[in-house]
């Protein structure tokens, strides 16, 4: 994706915000409008939506019936029950695709404005730098939510369209009806959404360090990959509970009977820790730096 070709239409927010003192709400609204009207954002959401579609096509078109215990978990279940497409798609997009898109959005937050020279104008209005950071973070969080929802909703629709749907077998071997299954899938999606918030905070902080948005994007994505590699090294066991990706795939605990919320809580607490630490770093850096562009 070319960055310069994307015009951040700053004229949009200015028309509906008061010139002197924009309220947090209108600042957020304009941020969201800019973010979700951007071609790049829409392209990324489209790519995320393509993941469940491609999985469904691959399963539908492949002649051989997948045997259990081969391939990624849940994949073999999809042909029996379309709702498993959601879980499979989330599982596949969680390690790379979602962090990639979040890296792009989070890395762009401050550095993007700085490189376009619009940061100065944003700061002329007495909105306050901290408020701008909060609004930017809320924008990234909104993207995490929409990105996860796009995968989950496309997965549900495609699953319903391509495969039979019936009672869903949980990991424990018990089955639940479609209503409860959809409830559980929403919980899984919320888990994935929450999982991405820590990385978003890191991306926001990195974005305050530079005026080159590509650098911040790449650094954020690299962070996510490096942390997942560290999490896979058994020699670093002591470090694992501190890595933001550590609980990512524990969303499976929501598919057990009885349902276990323990990992949801642990994951949320860990992500909150990352938000607070990197939020503080971002505030320290952004509020004290000289904005030259």
């Amino acid at each position: 994706m070319s960055l310069n070709s994307v015009s951040t239409a700053r004229s949009v927010p200015e028309t509906d915000t008061g010139p002197a003192s924009p309220s947090g709400g209108s600042l957020l609204r304009s941020e969201l409008i800019v973010l979700f009207r951007r071609g790049r954002t829409l392209a990324m959401l489209g790519a995320l939506a393509a993941i469940p579609i491609m999985i469904a096509l691959a399963i539908k078109l492949s002649p051989a019936k997948l045997s259990a215990a081969k391939g990624p978990p849940f994949l073999d279940q999809v042909s029996n029950n379309g709702l498993f497409l959601v879980v499979t798609a989330l599982l596949i997009s969680l390690p790379l695709f979602l962090p990639l898109t979040i890296g792009v959005v989070a890395g762009d937050t401050i550095a993007g404005e700085a490189s376009l020279g619009t940061l100065r104008y944003l700061l002329i209005a007495p909105a306050g730098r901290i408020r701008l950071l909060l609004v930017k973070y809320a924008g990234v969080a909104a993207f995490c939510f929409v990105g996860t929802a796009v995968v989950a909703i496309t997965g549900t629709l495609v699953g319903l369209a391509f495969f039979p749907v019936g009672r869903v077998t949980l990991l424990s071997g018990d089955t639940v009806g479609i209503g409860e299954a959809i409830g559980r899938l929403s919980l899984v999606s919320s888990f994935v959404f929450v999982s991405l918030l820590g990385l978003s905070a890191i991306g926001l902080f990195i974005s305050t360090l530079t005026v080159v948005p590509v650098g911040a994007m790449a650094a954020t994505v690299v962070m996510s990959v490096v942390v997942q590699i560290l999490d896979a090294l058994p020699q670093l066991g002591w470090l694992h509970p501190w890595l933001f990706s550590h609980y990512w795939i524990d969303f499976a605990d929501l598919l057990r009977q009885p349902i276990s919320f323990a990992s949801f809580g642990e994951n949320a607490l860990l992500q909150l820790g990352y938000i607070v630490v990197f939020g503080a770093l971002a505030i320290g850096r952004f509020a004290s730096k000289d904005v030259l562009s």
Binding site: A68, A69, P73, F74, D76, Q77, N80, N81, L91, G166, R167, T169, L171, S172, G173, D174, T175, P234, I249, D250, A252, D253, R256, Q257, P258, S260, G273, V276, V277, G279, A280, L281, I283, G284, A287, S288
Partner: protein, 406 residues
């Protein structure tokens, strides 16, 4: 303080708050517990008089046996297909070839399982693997095993003659299930004899409950076991954790402990298992317990060996008696020593030559005087050059000594 410094203040404060939270919360949980003093005898009675039969809890098992970690779900071939048939007692054939690997996998790393018990006939154990789960559900005479990775169900119907304890043991063996602290504690406590020093350790807190610690220390030095610590709920006598220390190793070689436990009947629906649609269901016949008509490897029947007294099923005592009467040449494991220093020996020819000739076998064992040794923190196995096998939770020297006397 200037404005810029103030902006950096949160960066300094946040890590301090987090560090404080991380350090204080566990230290409160592990705060010293003082319970009314009890003698070792009184703690033993407390455990024996425990009436807890209904509970739900989460169990964590960790092993540091010095075994190499196995990749979970690795489709490695069965390591020892006949391993469980060394006893004359009924043993359920392993459902498929990866089971031995799975059983070994349970002995490495750490595992979490949820346990639900309701009386002696209803139980459910769920091993919580990453993105997968293995379940063993027992409801009366029905035992179900479910493996989510394979989406496979195995069903056993226990014959009426099965006692609750036998059924439990069978179910545990079959599912290769993490043992609960309660079961393991019972095993160790049953073995207390004059060769063991029993003492009361520090009062502690396990799974949020105050607990007495019972420490079993072998008197002999001829064992790899340093000590066994069993904690038991001070209120109900329910064993909450068991940890086995190996000699010369700082971390417990094996420990199993409740991380949460709720005493009371679990939801009855948990014990009602219906195979999910799409799963492969296998009916597993349970081999009958040996009776008078059981044919022995040498062609005679158990009834012939023990004329007149054989009626119905055998008790373990009868089995042992019978083993002693078996004609020479029947491969039967012999146990030397009675307690911590016990060594099990198998005569030559029990272990197939294909296994010992294997490259993997050579890599997993080391050459010692008199044969090859497979060693871990709590178990040594000596394969002598003449094909015999000696195993026990004992040092190599003891294995060699036993081997030399035969």
């Amino acid at each position: 303080m200037n404005r810029k410094t103030v902006r950096w203040l949160p960066v300094a404060v946040v890590p301090v708050v987090i560090a404080a939270g991380v350090l204080i919360i566990p230290s409160q949980a592990g705060a010293a517990v003082t319970l009314p003093d009890k003698s070792a005898q009184q703690v033993l009675e407390l455990i024996q008089n425990s009436t807890v039969r209904q509970l739900s809890g989460e169990v964590t098992q960790t092993s540091a046996l010095g075994l190499p970690a196995l990749p979970t779900g690795a489709g490695a071939p069965a390591l020892a297909p006949g391993a469980s048939t060394s006893d004359l007692g009924a043993s359920v054939a392993a459902p498929d070839s990866t089971d031995a690997t799975q059983a070994l996998e349970l002995l490495t790393g750490s595992h979490t399982a949820r346990v639900y018990l309701d009386g002696d006939t209803k139980s459910r154990v769920q091993i919580m693997d990453q993105l997968a789960e293995r379940d063993a559900v027992r409801n009366g005479s029905d035992v179900w095993f479910y493996d989510s990775k394979k989406n496979a169900v195995t069903h056993l119907t226990l014959p009426a003659g099965f006692s609750a304890a036998e059924a439990q043991a069978k179910a545990a063996a079959e599912a290769k299930v993490v043992m609960t602290p309660t079961e393991l504690a019972k095993k160790f406590l049953a073995k207390i004899d004059p060769s063991t020093t029993v003492s009361v350790g520090q009062d502690t807190r396990v799974a949020g409950r105050t607990a007495y610690t019972l420490v079993l220390t072998p008197r002999t030095t001829d064992t790899l076991v340093g000590s066994v610590a069993i904690t038991t709920d001070s209120e109900t006598g329910l064993p909450l954790s068991v940890s086995v220390e190996a000699r010369g190793q700082k971390d417990p070689a094996f420990s199993v402990a409740f991380t949460t436990v709720t005493i009371g009947a679990p939801d009855a629906a948990l014990f009602r298992f219906t195979p999910p649609a799409g799963a492969t269901v296998k009916e597993q016949a349970l081999p009958a317990l040996p009776d008078a008509a059981t044919v022995l490897p040498n062609g005679t029947t158990l009834g012939d060996l023990n004329p007149g007294t054989m009626t119905g099923k055998l008790t373990p005592e009868q089995l042992n008696e019978l083993k002693a009467k078996l004609p020479a040449g029947t491969p039967v494991p012999v146990v030397t020593g009675t307690s911590w220093d016990a060594v099990v020996s198998l005569p030559a020819g029990t272990v197939p030559a294909e296994l010992t000739g294997n490259k993997l076998f050579t890599a997993a064992t080391s050459a010692v005087e008199g044969g090859r040794l497979a060693s871990s923190a709590l178990l040594n196995v000596l394969f002598t050059t003449d094909g015999r096998v000696f195993a026990g939770a004992v040092p190599l020297e003891r294995l060699q000594a036993v081997a030399a006397t035969k």
